[in-house]
């Protein structure tokens, strides 16, 4: 049964001949995924990640960059296993973003 990711043979335009750099956050996300999937943890497999982004829906799948898709799918999978909640993640993200802007009023 095909999904929006199953595109072998579909018409498409010219190959975008670009070489995007591998960003640090992308490496970090992949590193975390590798560790979560390793023999001592087995918390998130590549198969679950793939199923994750294959279930996003077309709009989300097309809107996100490749590594962002994998990161989102990883967070979704961790949530579905009860390892974290989206609310927890959003709270932590807000904390990180406050540290980043260095707003003195919001320092914990």
């Amino acid at each position: 049964m095909s999904g929006y990711h199953d595109i072998g043979g579909l018409p498409a335009g010219p190959i975008p001949r670009v070489e995007l750099p591998f960003q640090h956050w992308e490496k970090q996300a992949e590193a975390i995924r590798n560790l979560l999937g390793d023999g001592s943890r087995r918390l998130v497999s590549l198969d679950e990640i793939r199923r994750g982004f294959e279930s996003f829906g077309l709009d989300k799948y097309q809107a996100y960059s490749f590594y962002r898709r994998r990161l989102e799918a990883m967070i979704d999978t961790l949530q579905s296993k009860g390892l974290l909640t989206r609310e927890e993640f959003e709270r932590e993200l807000a904390k990180v973003q406050r540290r980043w802007t260095g707003d003195p009023c919001l320092r914990p």
Partner: protein, 117 residues
């Protein structure tokens, strides 16, 4: 996100038998449409087409199971199957020997009688 219930941890049955290998190198096979929802690794473009087994890759856990957290097996035989390009897309291929090779799991394949196909 499509959420399947993750089954509780199950002790693998001691007698879990692998699925396959049913096919040998050189066997003709057709890719069947299992109409399985969720995560599968058989692309649409090979469904229904006739190919030849060129390699037996070994036994692997089924990604259809792994994708929903079932890690206890059974394992499934994996093959590389070769299709003539003309067979896949219709019309004359650029070259008569242009082919497509792809990895396919045993349960997606059915045997084809070389004589009657």
């Amino acid at each position: 996100m499509d959420r399947r219930p993750v089954p509780p941890a199950i002790t693998p049955p001691a007698t879990a038998r692998p699925f396959g290998p049913r096919f040998d190198i050189g066997d003709l096979v057709r890719v069947i449409d299992l109409r399985k929802p969720g995560h599968v690794r058989t692309p649409d473009y090979v469904i229904g087409h006739l190919g030849e087994v060129i390699q037996r890759c070994g036994l692997f856990l089924n990604p259809e199971d792994l994708s929903v957290g079932i890690t206890h097996g059974p394992v499934v035989a994996l093959y590389r199957v070769r299709f003539p390009m003309a067979e896949l897309w219709g019309g004359p291929a650029r070259h008569p020997r242009d082919t497509l090779c792809i990895e396919l799991y045993d349960h997606w394949l059915e045997p084809v009688d070389k004589v009657t196909r």
